[in-house]
C-alpha cells in the first residue's frame, strides 16, 4: 500500500485529496491526462459519499487506501454511511437536458475516467468502492525498435526442433538491475507480443522490481555474454514462501539444460533466503511447465479453475476454448519435523491428507471438540482485475462469518467474476464447521495451500462461473490427476451447475 487516509466527510477535503491522487498517479506512471481524469473520478466518488452516504453530517469519516502495481493504480474506499447502490442510479442524458435531473452522472464519470470500478456491499461492515486505472505502456515500442536488428525468429514448434544450437558452456547468475534490458529482450524474442506479464517488456519496471527486491531470480548467459535464459522467484508478501515464474529460454538454446540449471539456482536462492516453500502456477493447456516442476520435486496440491482469461501462449493454445486453469505446484524447502495440528473438513479430509503425504509434510489431524468465535470476522479481499477473479482470505472467524461472506460474494457477483476463491485456515478449529455452514454458497474444492498465508496452511475452495470442459485440462502428475478427478466430480455434482443445465 502506498498511502492510507482517514478522510472527514467535509467537502473541504475533496480538493486536497484529489491533488494528492493526481500527483501520486503521475509518480506511479500515469500520464498527466490520465492522472487528472482519475483524480476527477475520485472527486466524483468522494462527493457522492459526502452527499449520499453521510447527508448533512460533516463530522463522520471514511478511509481511502492507495495501491499501485507496475501495470495499474488502485484506490479502495471504505465507508460506513447510509446504504446506497450505484447500480440503481443510471444516468439519463435526456432527463438531464430537459429536467436538470443528473442522477447517476457522477457514477457515469467514475466509470468513464477509470478502467475498473467495482462496488462491494459488505453488509454491516459498510461499503467498499474500488477504482483502477491502467498505466499506459509506451516503452515496448521503443524497446522493440532498439532490439529489432537482434530479433530472433519467433518460436514455432517445428522450427525450434531444427534450429536449436548445442551449447558447450553457459553461466547462470543472480539477476542484477543492469540485467533488466536483457530480460525484456529475451521475453520479446521468445514470445513476441504474447507473454501475459506486460511489465516484463519494460526494462525500467524490471529494474525497479529487482532493486526493490520484489523479484529475485537468475539469468543464464553464453560465455560471450549473450542472455539466453531467465527465471524469477517472487516472494509472497504475507508468508515466507515464493512463487517461481516468468521462465524463459531463448528458443535456439533450448535442450541444453538451461532451464534445469536456472531452477537449481532458484532453489539455492530460496534456501539462502530461508524460505519455507516454493510454488508455481502452471498452465494446464499443456504439460510443459508442470513437467519441469515435477522434475525438481514440485507436487501438485491444488487445481484452480478458470484462473486466467484465455491468453494466447504461442504454439500451444491458439484454439483453446475456455479460461485457463492452473495447477498449483509446491516444493517444500525446509523440512518439517513437528507434526502441526490441523482441522480438516470431513468431506475433504482424505484428499488433503493425501496431499500432505505427497508433499512430505507431517500433520496431526485434530478432532474438533469446541471452538470460540471472535465477535467479528477478519477477512481480506484481493481482486485480480485482469482475470476477473477475486480471492477472499479468512484470517479469523467471527459470529458474523456467514453473513459477511454471503454479502461479500453477492457484492462480487454483481461484477460478473470468472471465479471467486476462498482460502480457509486449516490450523483454525472452526474451519470444518464453518465450511459446512457455507455449503449453500456452493464453493467446490481447489486444493491445499501449504504455508500460503501468514506461514500457515490453507484450504482453497472455489466458485466457478464459467463452463469448464475437464477434458481440456492437461495435468502431468498422477497425483495431480487425482485432484483433477476430485475437483471435476464436485464441479459436475454442484447444485448450481445442475440448475444451470
Amino acid at each position: 500500500m502506498d498511502a492510507q487516509f482517514q478522510i472527514s466527510t467535509d467537502e473541504k477535503v475533496i480538493n486536497p485529496v484529489c491533488d494528492f491522487t493526481q500527483s501520486w498517479g503521475v509518480n506511479c506512471g500515469l500520464t498527466t491526462g490520465d492522472a487528472l481524469r482519475f483524480s476527477v473520478a475520485l472527486s466524483e466518488l468522494v462527493t457522492d459519499i459526502i452527499l449520499f452516504a453521510f447527508p448533512d453530517d460533516s463530522n463522520q469519516n471514511f478511509e481511502i487506501k492507495f495501491f499501485h502495481t507496475f501495470s495499474h493504480v488502485e484506490i479502495v474506499i471504505s465507508e460506513l454511511g447510509e446504504p446506497f447502490d450505484p447500480d440503481r442510479h443510471t444516468y439519463d442524458a435526456q432527463n438531464a437536458l430537459t429536467e436538470g435531473n443528473f442522477d447517476g452522472a457522477g457514477f457515469l464519470l467514475i466509470k468513464t475516467f477509470s478502467d475498473e470500478f467495482s462496488f462491494i456491499n459488505k453488509g454491516k461492515k459498510g461499503k467498499e468502492f474500488r477504482l483502477v486505472k491502467n498505466i499506459e505502456v509506451h516503452d515496448i515500442d521503443k524497446l522493440l525498435e532498439l532490439s529489432a536488428e537482434q530479433r530472433e525468429t519467433k518460436p514455432d514448434s517445428e522450427g525450434d526442433q531444427e534450429s536449436t544450437i548445442k551449447l558447450e558452456e553457459f553461466t547462470v547468475s543472480r539477476i542484477k538491475p543492469e540485467d533488466a534490458e536483457d530480460i525484456s529482450k529475451l521475453i520479446y524474442r521468445t514470445y513476441g507480443y504474447s507473454y501475459n506479464v506486460e511489465d516484463l517488456y519494460l526494462p525500467k519496471k524490471v529494474e525497479e522490481s529487482v532493486l526493490a527486491k520484489d523479484k529475485l531470480g537468475v539469468i543464464a548467459r553464453k560465455i560471450d555474454g549473450e542472455a539466453i535464459g531467465y527465471f524469477a522467484v517472487i516472494p509472497k508478501d504475507n508468508s515466507r514462501i515464493a512463487e517461481v515464474g516468468e521462465a524463459v529460454v531463448s528458443p535456439k538454446y533450448r535442450k541444453n539444460g538451461v532451464m534445469s540449471s536456472m531452477m537449481e539456482q532458484l532453489i539455492e536462492i530460496a534456501e539462502s533466503k530461508n524460505l519455507s516453500m516454493l510454488f508455481g502456477e502452471a498452465v494446464t493447456v499443456h504439460p510443459v511447465s508442470q513437467k519441469v516442476n515435477n522434475k525438481f520435486g514440485y507436487k501438485t496440491a491444488a487445481l484452480q479453475l478458470a484462473s486466467s482469461v484465455n491468453v494466447k501462449y504461442k504454439g500451444f493454445d491458439e484454439d483453446y476454448s475456455q479460461p485457463i486453469s492452473m495447477a498449483m505446484d509446491f516444493l517444500p524447502i525446509l523440512p518439517s519435523h513437528d507434526k502441526k495440528p490441523v482441522y480438516l473438513p470431513d468431506k475433504y479430509s482424505d484428499i488433503i491428507l493425501a496431499t500432505y503425504d505427497e508433499l512430505g509434510i507431517n500433520v496431526d489431524p485434530q478432532k474438533v471438540t469446541e471452538y470460540h468465535l471472535a465477535e467479528t470476522s477478519d477477512i481480506d479481499l484481493k481482486i485480480n482485475y485482469s482475470s476477473y477473479s477475486s480471492l477472499i482470505i479468512v484470517e479469523n472467524y467471527g459470529n458474523d462469518f456467514i453473513s459477511e461472506l454471503s454479502e461479500l460474494v453477492d457484492g462480487l457477483e454483481e461484477n460478473s467474476p470468472e471465479t471467486i476463491l476462498l482460502d480457509l485456515p486449516l490450523e483454525n478449529s472452526a474451519t470444518p464447521e464453518q465450511l459446512h455452514n457455507i455449503s449453500e454458497l456452493n464453493f467446490i474444492y481447489s486444493g491445499l495451500l501449504p504455508h500460503y498465508h501468514y506461514d500457515a496452511d490453507f484450504l482453497r475452495v472455489q466458485k466457478v462461473y464459467s463452463d469448464i470442459d475437464f477434458n481440456l485440462i492437461e495435468i502431468y502428475s498422477d497425483f495431480g490427476k487425482k485432484i483433477k478427478t476430485f475437483v471435476a466430480d464436485e464441479y459436475n455434482n454442484n447444485p448450481e451447475r445442475s440448475q444451470k443445465s
Binding site: I14, G33, V40, T47, A93, L97, G100, A105, G106
Partner: protein
C-alpha cells in the same frame, strides 16, 4: 485549496475559480448569488480540475434562462460535457468568452 473571488455589478456576477470547480466551489458560488443576478461570468483560467458538480451547476443555471460566460475552461470541462451528452445543447461559441 479551492477558493473563489467574486465581483458583483448590477445583474452580473464575475467569478474567478482558483483550484477545483467541485461541490465546495459550487456551494461558495451559490452563497453569493442573489435573485437579482442573471449573468454569471466564470473565469476558469486558474482551474485545472472540474467535476460534474461544476458542469451541472452551470447547466442548471442555463436551464433557468440565465446568461453564462466562461473564460478559459480546462480541457476536462469539454470531456465531461461530452460524456454527459450536454455538448449538443450548449452554445459554446456564445458561452465561451474570448
Amino acid at each position: 485549496m479551492n477558493t473563489i473571488t467574486t465581483r458583483k455589478e448590477a445583474k452580473n456576477l464575475d467569478i474567478t475559480v482558483r483550484g477545483d470547480f467541485n461541490l465546495r466551489t459550487k456551494k461558495m458560488i451559490l452563497s453569493r448569488l442573489t435573485p437579482a443576478i442573471h449573468t454569471l461570468k466564470i473565469n476558469l483560467a486558474y482551474c485545472e480540475r472540474m467535476d460534474s458538480e461544476g458542469v451541472i451547476f452551470m447547466h442548471r443555471w442555463l436551464l433557468k434562462g440565465n446568461n453564462l460566460r466562461i473564460v478559459k475552461p480546462p480541457v476536462i470541462f469539454f470531456e465531461i460535457l461530452e460524456i454527459l451528452g450536454l455538448d449538443g445543447s450548449w452554445n459554446l461559441d456564445e458561452i465561451i468568452a474570448n
